[in-house]
Symmetry: C2
Subunit: 398 residues, 2 copies
């Protein structure tokens, strides 16, 4: 049975009068989240108190929810765990991968990577010292830059600014051929594309849940370790919940079995409850259908904007296979244009210096939304409605 | 005006029929939390969507709440920030302190420290290589072990098992005299004692919020960096929200000013909302009164148990100055005794091999609770009520 996207849309609580094309930054509120979190607070924490760790299953949330996410990213069940933030998970994956590949000291990434990933790599390289190095090249130069010196290839599959999608299987294969391990950041892939980490050969993958997975502001991150590495990877951030026997309170660290070792401290139960509820909508979604629907939406938006807004330059690959689930255009006055759009109820965002971004999240965006957004954007561009001090004055941007 | 602890007690939602002496493990639910989190979900996330980062003040929660906690730990305002878990904050503090003290490579800690702190130090030492070392001694041997080789002294002020309190000012002074920096873990101090990090000279301090600060399961941690180090400390886990200009999306990391650099990834807004609400009760609490009340409670419990339970051996220091806000006793059948207590509604916990722990949290425990708990414990011990298979069979312990 094909996925019914009108049913998934009905499961979100979207404010009246807006077209929300920023689900790639912060997903909207699923209708069942408030009650689920309320239950975690009053019935679980309030009534069970400390016994909630077992009775309410809090302790197992990170792996139980990990299995729900595994399906969405094409991972083997039992090899994904939730916790911390994406930046922390990047650090763990990188440190593990470097340790598993001794003798090489270069992390290769690209300048289209989300800066936090690069910052975390910088911090790790600085901590390691001894000639460790973070090397960044342009996204299109990555393939050629994978040589025998590379210990770890760290890439974000879908570029947060342009929506350009790397070829995970091909780049991973080349990395492996050259003796490198891979760390894939799925921040803009999970819940957005037909990402398939097992099939793609990824060694490590990490991602966040507050974008296309709609877990809410500050929802926890996830990490995947390929089964072939599960008992070899060292978590670097070796906290007690990643210990083989946390409640033995031993003085020495022994990693837990498999993915459990990537746990660090006490899991954020309220955020996990929100995430768990938010994942319910996915039970009725086929990832193949999701990808088809996503491309239908982005194709329609590109065609509509290009037909009506000649001064906007497409920044997203025209080839659907090289595209995530967002569309970006460049314009020197991008900031003001986005402000004008927001004033008209079309919520996208701006990324310096000149990119306007639109996320197309099939769960709640449909072709009518696309047509309406195109119409409003075309009107703004045709009338120069963005060209007022109100829209050109820059506020603090998130 | 002295603190009115009957008023603070009224602000908690405690289940009927229990005496909750486990607030040192997971604090109970403050009455205002559910509504505050609900508001964050429906009014903020649901209605403001991405604009909540500015409009609802989400982005500033980590420092704004940091100031609220600063007062409770005797820190200077503007030098505490929330985020991540305690284990992650331990790693940041340790890595920063080691980098600020080049030429020395030993982290000194004690065997009474919470294992996760030791595990994180182990992971860091392993990552650093090059002769870095974690050295642990018995708690009473710490002072003598502080010599010129020590780079960082890392201690938990109050022992999670025995409730023994280290002398922060004295040990910090000795560490400084020997050229070492200090990292103090306040997990069992913040909200429990009159901890004073500025006066005590601490260089770094870290703590969790789900114990005596009642933020709920998995509430975020905090970190304090002394003002004199604020512009020198490097966070090691250098994420984008610790960047000088996160929304410039620069490719290179530059630490933010002061404590902001200890931020890493996206803050957990729902958990922070719970914490923010949970801190309201503290507005009417004097820390001096809290400490006096805590000692009144622990003194009464020790006296009551020692008068009625001759087979229980006090594991907590008899000297009030050396005591946190918990009392522990040893007994070879501690596990079964605690199960028998829990069956009677007295909730404490057990820590292997033989410790029964009771946390006295002045905000909601009073002398009547102490008397009732003593009476039930005495009855259990006098009648050997613990000596049944029901209580002696060990389940998974949290």
């Amino acid at each position: 049975m094909p996925t019914d996207f009108s049913r998934t849309r009905a499961q979100f609580d979207l404010p009246e009068g807006i077209i929300y094309l920023d689900g790639n930054s912060l997903g909207p509120l699923p209708r069942n989240v408030a009650a689920r979190v309320q239950k975690a607070i009053t019935e679980e924490w309030g009534q069970m108190l400390i016994t909630g760790w077992n009775k309410a299953g809090w302790m197992d949330l990170p792996t139980r929810i990990g299995d729900r996410i595994a399906r969405l990213i094409g991972a083997e069940a039992g090899h994904v765990v939730l916790g911390d933030t994406l930046s922390i998970k990047v650090y763990q994956a990188l440190a593990s991968a470097l340790e598993m590949n001794p003798g090489k000291r270069v992390i290769l990434s690209d300048t289209g990577n989300f800066p936090s990933d690069l910052y975390m790599a910088e911090g790790l390289v600085r901590t390691l010292g001894q000639g460790f190095e973070l090397r960044t090249v342009a996204p299109e130069a990555v393939e050629d830059a994978i040589d025998d010196s590379i210990a770890v290839l760290m890439l974000t599959e879908v570029d947060y600014r342009t929506g350009r999608r790397h070829d995970m299987p091909a780049l991973t294969a080349k990395a492996h051929a050259k003796g490198a391990l891979t760390v894939w950041d799925l921040a803009h892939s999970a819940g957005a594309t037909d990402v398939a980490v097992a099939e793609g050969g990824a060694d490590f993958a990490v991602g966040c849940t507050y974008k296309y997975l709609n877990s809410g502001p500050g929802g926890p991150a996830f990490i995947y370790v390929a089964p072939r590495h599960a008992e070899r990877a060292r978590p670097a951030l070796s906290g007690w919940l990643g210990h083989e026997a946390p409640f033995a309170f031993d003085l020495d660290y022994r990693p837990a079995r498999g993915i459990e070792r990537m746990r660090v401290g006490t899991p954020p139960v309220l955020q996990l409850a929100a995430l768990d509820a938010a994942l319910d909508v996915w039970d009725a979604v086929s990832i193949t259908d999701l990808r088809a629907r996503s491309l239908e939406l982005t194709e329609a938006f590109i065609a509509g904007v290009e037909a009506t807004c000649p001064t906007l330059t497409l920044a997203t690959p025209r080839d659907p296979a090289r595209r995530g689930s967002q569309v970006s255009f460049r314009h020197p006055e991008g900031y003001a244009i986005m402000q004008a759009l927001i004033a008209r109820g079309v919520i996208g965002d701006f990324r310096a210096p000149d990119i306007i971004r639109f996320g197309f999240t099939p769960l709640f965006i449909d072709l009518d939304d696309v047509a309406a957004a195109v119409e409003i954007l075309a009107e703004i561009m045709a009338t120069d409605a963005w060209d007022t001090p109100q829209f050109k004055t820059r506020a603090k941007v998130t």
